[in-house]
Amino acid sequence: MRAICLYLHIHQPLRYREYSIFDVGVDSNYFHDQYNGRQSNERIFRKVADKSYYPMLNLLLDNMKIRPGFKVSFSITGTWLEQAEKWGPELIDIIREMVSRGQAEIVDETYYHSLAYFYNLDEFTAQVKMHSEKIQQLFGVTPKVFRNTEFAYNDSLAKWAEDHGYEGILAEGWDKVLGWRSSNHVYRPTGCQNIKLLLKNYRLSDDIAFRFSNRSWGEWPLTVPKYQNWLDMDSLRGNLINLFMDFETFGEHQWKDTGIFDFMNTLISSWLSVYENKFVTVSEACNLEPPVDEISMPETVTWADTERDLSAWLSNSMQNSAMQNLYDMRDQVLATNDLGLISDWRNMTTSDHPYSMCTKYWNDGDVHAYFSAYASPYESFMYYMNVLRDIEYRIKNNPL
């Protein structure tokens, strides 16, 4: 038996607009840019929905209908769900149908896609609870497996997840941690008794997510027979292949004309045509075998960049001061009991915001610059701090 655990992460941040110092104390609309604006959440959501969400979700559902053995796991952030409710409720219906067919599982995480775990444990726990309730409300299921924002994982987080009753937790299968061991097994986090650890097979995942359309890659073009051969070879090191990636890989990062949809369609049927192969959801994967070993990650590991650390979000002084200012306000914000204010504040915890202030490779104009909604990390920081100033102003002027 050989299993692919396909897990797709669905997320859109609520971007703050170019919020000027002249808006502070006057206009508390942070998130609604005009439709054609650079930070227009609605425009971006609708664009990605057309290019990626609709075609890929339909492709997955169609495959589920023909092949009962085909299964997928999703993690869906609260910020995405709120936007989908407004600008694409049919997307939620498609996912709900998959869940009710028993062929899709939802993974838990923070509602706001935040890095709260590293700043305020109460806030983190509250956001996870919000997410769990939202999933229950929309899909009628309670998630059993946890993943943290950006796969930011360490031993103490695993312990937290175990204490909160999760069966499994997801993390990056990084060589520096694994050493000679393979990511194709179920592991147990150090310090835990019951929870299982699933590790991303980053080579085979990134072949699709990052390299698929890269013409200077030696293996281009990637065909299904070639890729399936790699899957066969890799499963000699363990029966469970964890393909974890962003949902937007399909249609947005790799455009339709690269052939990514056809590739996926063919891969699913081709993989299932071999009698011993199957697809599993994350909680099925956790129970595939008893843990083969214990894995310890005392330092935080993420799924980003070659460093696999938090430096893309929390390394320069702008990012640190933005986050520090944000979390310092928490008690005051919650004390107002103003739900609009609390929600605005929580939307500022989304990790995409500090990511857009990253200067690590800024001068080289690489992937960070490409994905940013702002003209530069400096501008992003400037608007962010203006929003925090207005929140501060609202706290002080709250009638309570």
Binding site: S20, I21, F22, S317, N320, N363, S376, Y378
Partner: protein
Amino acid sequence: MLGWELPPHNSGGLGVACLNMARALSREGADIKFIVPYTAEHPDIDFMQVIPATNLDPIYRYGGGSYESMRLLEKIIPTADKEQTLSIRDVQKTYCDFIETHLMKFKPEVIHAHDWLTYEAGILAKQKYNAPLIAHVHATEYDRAGMHTGNPLIHEIEYEGLMMANQIIAVSESTKRIIHEKYHIPLNKIKVVYNSLDENYEKSNYTFNDSTYGYLTKLKSEGWTIISTVGRFTVQKGLHNFMHAAALAVSKEPKLMFVFAGDGEERNELISLAADLGIAKNVIFTGFIRGKRLRDIYSISDIFVMSSISEPFGLTALEAAHHGDALILTKQSGVSEVIWSAMTYDFWDQEKLANEIVAIAKNDALRDSLQQNVKNEYRKISWKQVAKKCMKIYNNTIKHKRY
């Protein structure tokens, strides 16, 4: 090389750029004869021959006033009409005469002409000696006139020079675009070669002395933010917009001091504008400064603003970066194409500029990041690279001389 000025007899960036380029080129093996329209000593230049085309004093290279003109005219054109004043056109004419009669002594393989001042001489040389002409555009008349029409005669000369040149070198993509759009020159004839910071500027052993501007030092210690701009006060520099933005910024953060270093025809207007906007207390005019006093301004400033409506390159931004200022640049400046660690805005967007000034003044993290990052970044363009690119252009042009 045909130029109009070389340090120490320069009034702006043109001379500095010419000197550094020539020095770097000579290191790459070029033998340069640099022809200037005046007679003077250049004590620091030993890597090339500087040849005077007239016997004028350097201060008259852009023409003279009515008082000294008669005397001067006699000096260069003995037959001239005594009622006329000496204009820059007279200097240019004499410069051309010199090229026509003496250039062949030097047997040039390539003629490299800097800006409209020398294009006529360049064309003449090309016609007469069949040497390829490279026109180097440091600025066009559109830039100098703040994107208004400017002087039609200068346009005519620029147009002719650009048409006749075998190759054109522009100091930025935005200059290249202007050459293409306003002078209708095909894009493939224009190469972009960015300027770099003056070598002597980096090498000289300057140390900041905070007593030069004691008042500003005091303000800084009280939590004020110093914002400076340096340049000629002309329409090109967009200083009116800057002043309006300054007033907007002060309305949000009163502890801001704006230093306008330089001089020019807009000075009086700017002073009264500051008073009209009620921010006279927040604005300082230093007058024209250079050397150490200029460097002290850069050193004491937290933020440097380049507010130009159109700036082919913008060397002062690199100087400010060298002294550790956070940069705010208009998107219409060439330097903003190569420097990424800076805030940018469109020259008319006063509110955004005000926003950026307030943000930097209020956030230490932002100010420190901008200052640190640009200090690491500005060195990435060097004169050595500039010279290598020029040499390549020379060689290609010589090879395809006939076209």
